[in-house]
Amino acid sequence: MRQLLNTLFVTTPNAYLRLEGETLCVEVEREKRLQVPLHHIGSVVAFGDVMLTPAVLRRCAQDGRGVVLLDRNGEFSARIEGPVSGNILLRQAQHDAAGNALTALGIARACVVGKLRNARQVLLRGAREAKNTEDTQSLQQASRLLANQIRKLPEVVDLDLVRGLEGDGARIYFAAIPLLIRANQRKVFNFERRSRRPPLDRFNALISFLYTLLVNDCRSALEGVGLDPQLGFLHAVRPGRPALALDLMEEFRPIMVDRLALTLINRGQLTEQNFESRVGGAVYLSEQGRKVVLTAYQQRKQEELTHPLLEQTVAIGLLPHVQARLLARTLRGEMEGYLPFLTR
């Protein structure tokens, strides 16, 4: 089993990263803040103006440690990659599958089933925990609607219809999300609908930031098993778009992001002060807010649960790797069809 390696997040402006022997040093104003042996680090995520020496970039690319550069708001700007390695036969199988409408449809459908099933679990849990019967009923109603969408999926034989069901499902789900926010937090987190580029309210800012982290993790997982992260099944291919990473991410969105966001809000770990508004109505997490979220995300990844298919305990952070491997097996024809990860 693969080990869950840590991610180093550098959020301090003007931090300087360099190699020292087999360790990575982070300096701020010429003072060493952290020195970590490379063997603990799976990837480096740098926010805004962070300096990395050429040696760090080269070494990380060589070892296959991801280096991701995000802008100050946490939006993706670049990623540094070493030479493409892995299994050409697997990638060939992936390309063949993408060219085969039936196989592609099957995988796309599985991704949507994963997303909607897990989204439904989030709503059902909300319904169990709701404080008044009105909320409980609305949440149960929304989860019934989601169940309907899920039931329709196996019959759908057209990729666009699968995408349509996914879109409708997402709308039903997001419409119910405000009910999962505790009453005393609803004024600060007045989420109405999903908005991105830019996020227009605090909840959107929070989940957009977390989705960026998650898509990077999914991308690394795919690259780790030798799949091409850009060739997707559900998401159409577009230059620069990690379509397969977005496909893989669908099933994890509700459990690794939405649920975590709700916990942070409902426990009061994030407040109004952790966000900043920009001209034009964009809302972003503040530097302090980002630290809270990054810490929570990393801790969440360490939590373990039982994978229903493998019947093994797995750290949540390794789920994308496990699922990427299952996807590879499907593409190789060793498995009937792809099975998404489903929470209970």
């Binding site: 840590n6 180093l8 931090a15 020195q35 970590v36 042996p37 063997h39 603990h40 995300y297 801790q299």
Partner: protein, 96 residues
């Protein structure tokens, strides 16, 4: 696993001082310095063996001594920390 590497390297000769620096550097590649000649390293079996082999190449067994302890889990119960120094947990969220 967490291991504790401690050493005494003779500093009487320039060669000894050189070995001391080399040993410290090697340990840093695997973990962190928690006291002057005490290092805590989180390694797997392969890492432990590599580190041990590497250190044995550096030290002079007639003059120096090296001790490697293996700490049993759970660490939060078996390691206590007092005083001004706080060790970094390399497996906890790393945010600078």
């Amino acid at each position: 696993m967490l291991i504790l590497v401690t050493y005494d390297v003779s500093t009487e000769t320039p060669a000894g001082r050189r070995r001391l620096r080399q040993v410290a550097k090697a340990c840093l590649n695997y973990g962190q310095r928690v006291q002057k000649s005490v290092f805590e390293c989180k390694v797997d079996q392969a890492g432990l063996e590599a580190l041990q082999r590497y250190l044995l190449k550096i030290i002079c067994e007639e003059e120096d001594s090296l001790r490697i302890y293996r700490l049993t889990e759970p660490l939060e119960r078996n390691v206590q920390e007092f005083g001004k120094f706080r060790a970094v947990d390399f497996e906890a969220p790393l945010i600078v």
